[in-house]
């Protein structure tokens, strides 16, 4: 029956507790409206007229709901698209580069490589898109402003964003580059760890010693993934915000320190290194393997401190004004 179909169309997306009540209310209303009509009309004509008068069921439903609901509403949509494009692009380039390297050094067949490449690309893009959508849906749901990072309250002139100093704007290119690098490294460690190593000429051919002990590495995949996610998160926050503020500086510094701590933790696990390469290095070079790890650790610490100081400097300089 058309009337039931109409009522169903109105009520199907309304909250469950309202559904029945609004349904029966509409039923009686339609009945009353038909009773109030000219009796010369046939039953079908009456129904048709009444339903036309009530109008599009979706519009009626949204009037009952009172307020439109969005996963990502008009306030966030432009920013969402921008961030989504950036992230997908970086992941695409990063994975393509990593697998490009992989295909040069791998012994696997090209067809198999391409299959794996597409698989990785799909799952990584999906992963990235999910993160971005999730973050924005959360912002939308809680009505948190991207500008102030706070719940949207009554508007006040003090909320106006500072005119951006050119230097305060976070470069999108830098973030894309950082996400790309992180993606390349993660892809290598996660999917192609067997091709990382030292290649050297021996007679006619190329000889190769893998750098990593695959079984040892497997136990740390979660941590490696965590480091990767943290780094992506840092860049995401930077892109979404778009300019340096004190808050962004503190958050990125914190995440940087976490990421560095985890990384150092992993490289000190002797299990993850191929014991053969450790011996070879100690045999042929004057430096010990331990020394190399120490130098790497120092490099990570110096880079992290450098990045943090630069972030905090920009945060204080451009976002310190309250």
């Amino acid at each position: 029956m058309v009337i039931d179909r109409y009522i169903y169309a109105v009520t199907k997306k309304l909250p469950r507790k309202l559904k029945n009540e609004i349904g029966s209310e509409l039923k009686v209303l339609i009945d009353d409206m038909m009773d109030g009509m000219d009796n010369a009309l046939s039953e079908e004509e009456k129904v048709d007229k009444v339903l036309r008068e009530l109008g599009n069921p979706q519009e009626l439903a949204s009037r009952y709901r009172g307020k439109e609901r969005y996963l990502i509403g008009p306030n966030y949509f432009d920013k969402y698209l921008f961030v989504m494009k950036t992230v997908v692009l970086s992941i695409f380039i990063g994975i393509s580069v990593a697998w490009g390297f992989g295909s040069i050094f791998s012994i696997e067949s090209i067809a198999g490589m391409i299959g794996d490449y597409i698989g990785t690309l799909l799952s990584a893009t999906l992963q990235g898109a999910t993160w971005v959508t999730g973050i924005f849906a959360l912002l939308e749901y809680n009505e948190i402003s991207v500008e102030t990072g706070m719940k949207q309250k009554a508007w006040d002139p003090s909320q106006l964003p500072e005119l951006p100093d050119k230097k305060a704007i976070i470069s999108r290119g830098e973030s894309i580059f950082a996400i790309m690098i992180a993606t390349i490294i993660l892809t290598l460690f996660f999917f192609l760890p067997e091709i990382i190593g030292i290649y050297y000429k021996a007679g006619d051919g190329l000889n190769f010693i893998p750098l990593l002990n695959l079984e040892g590495l497997a136990r740390f995949k979660v941590i490696i993934f965590l480091v990767f996610t943290t780094n992506i998160l840092i860049e995401l926050i930077k892109i979404i915000k778009g300019r340096w503020t004190m808050k962004i500086a503190i958050i990125t510094t914190l995440l940087n320190v976490i990421s560095a701590t985890l990384s150092i933790n992993v490289i000190y696990k002797i299990d993850i290194w191929n014991s053969e390469i450790v011996q070879k290095i100690e045999q042929y070079t004057p430096v010990s393997f331990e020394r190399i790890i120490l130098i790497t650790t120092a490099a990570i610490i110096i880079i992290t401190i450098g990045e943090s100081v630069s972030a905090l400097y920009k945060g204080i300089k451009y976002g310190g004004k309250k």
Partner: protein, 115 residues
């Protein structure tokens, strides 16, 4: 053709003007309990056109805001939800009436000044 467009614009403006008065008009008729359809008929008879797809959601909203209270009458063949002003609603209605007279007076003053 041009006339048509002018009519369309004018109609839109009139609709907009009416929209603000709907709540006041509805509240004025709810000192006695009414169900949705009886209210539409009553108001149409008195010259204020209101459509069901506007009124029904509005009644619910006003009830949620505590301005109206409701009860179901299931005695007849058709179960009906009756609405009437709550105690709080009566106060709101009086204040709205006062605001309406103020607006009316001020606008009238502005219009008369024009002439």
């Amino acid at each position: 053709m041009e006339n048509n467009i002018d009519d369309l614009v004018l109609n839109g403006l009139i609709q907009e003007l009416r929209r603000g008065t709907i709540i006041l008009a509805v509240l004025s008729q709810l000192k006695q309990p009414q169900y949705g359809y009886s209210l539409i008929v009553l108001m149409n008879e008195k010259g204020f056109d209101i459509e069901a797809n506007t009124l029904y959601p509005l009644l619910r909203r006003l009830e949620k805001q505590g301005i109206l209270e409701s009860f179901w009458d299931t005695d007849g063949t058709k179960p009906r939800k009756y609405y009437r002003l709550s105690e709080y609603g009566e106060g709101v209605y009086l204040k709205l009436c006062a605001a309406w007279s103020d607006i009316n007076r001020a606008v009238k003053h502005l219009i008369d000044e024009e002439e």
